[in-house]
Symmetry: C3
């Protein structure tokens, strides 16, 4: 079956998509709680923080997906999936913190950066290996994994 | 040729990407109509509703893409493509309604939820099958489709 | 190795994701420079232009990714990657211009449209060929590339 060696990436993508949908729902709930009728996006501080937290997740989500899939396709999907889980947890910490106060968004923000940086690192390793393999017929990752 | 069994997903993705681009253009037109010069995003109610309608589409679009491709890769691409079409129609109803009045966005909003929920359902079925197949070597979907 | 004939698409995606992340960082820096504390998104004109420039990139990015991958999978990845580079350069021109003044965003805006239009064109060619191949067993692109 097609997609066997990307199934963990699909699982993580699906999970993170549900998280994104959940945050959209939390904004909807915050609208009701604070009586902020669409299309307004300004209101009490707690609503504005909830809205900005979700917007920040919207901004970063496509970046995350690109890093996850590049890392998972060209490096190892298990590693990419693990860092993907870290990202989801980081966003959870960020969102929860931001709703509480602007300052409390900071730990989750840095954890998000760490998770994206790790994904970028393995994506770059994988892509470099992929380029060497495609254009110079050298597979460094395969050779290295034979060493262990 | 690579991508034979995902071509309908590619068609739907392309179609939905054009829809997203069209909504960005409608915001541009609404800017001109109501003389809202960038970078301003506030103005007459109709402009603000048009802008929020587009923003909502921007927020949900990556979620839709993940669901569409997971459903189409691990379940049947024809089913995913059909629900994808429903999503595009739902967004059309939503956008058109929202431009008219905040209240008129509601039918399209619920139709969007239904289309995403259907995609999620078949994506979960497909992913579960994919996990069983990969890790336990059991292919439930194939067995079931042999029953009919 | 899986993904050999999509590696240039992966490279361009990774590059563009880094660009998106960089723009998010520029907004953060502009926040500090102009003392705009989150969750506020209004402030001095330069901050608002920087923020809108990034938001516009966020809106268009998923459209770009869909066009890039459809064009690259069904037409030639080299062509898609070249237009993808043009898109990244166009966004760079747009962002830099927009930060300077609302008027200076226009050249980069039109260049962005051109790059997306070119990607759409080859995506449509590729998809049409893919549909003919899948459902009528005719491969126009292969035949044409044999002519040269």
């Amino acid at each position: 079956m097609m997609g066997d060696n990307i199934i963990l990436l699909a699982v993580i993508s699906l999970f993170s998509a549900c998280q994104q949908a959940y945050y959209a729902r939390l904004v909807g709930r915050s609208r009701m709680k604070h009586k902020v009728t669409p299309p307004a996006v300004t209101g009490p501080p707690e609503f504005e923080r909830t809205f900005r937290a979700q917007q920040n997740c919207v901004e970063i989500y496509p970046i995350f997906l690109v890093l996850l899939w590049t890392a998972g396709t060209y490096f190892f999907q298990e590693v990419a999936a693990a860092f993907g889980l870290l990202y989801i947890f980081a966003r959870h910490t960020y969102f929860k913190g931001y709703v509480a106060s602007a300052k409390d968004r900071i730990p989750g923000f840095y954890l998000t950066l760490i998770s994206l940086f790790l994904l970028l690192l393995v994506a770059l390793l994988g892509i470099t290996n992929g380029l060497l393999k495609t254009y110079l017929d050298v597979n460094v990752i395969k050779k290295m994994s034979h060493m262990f």
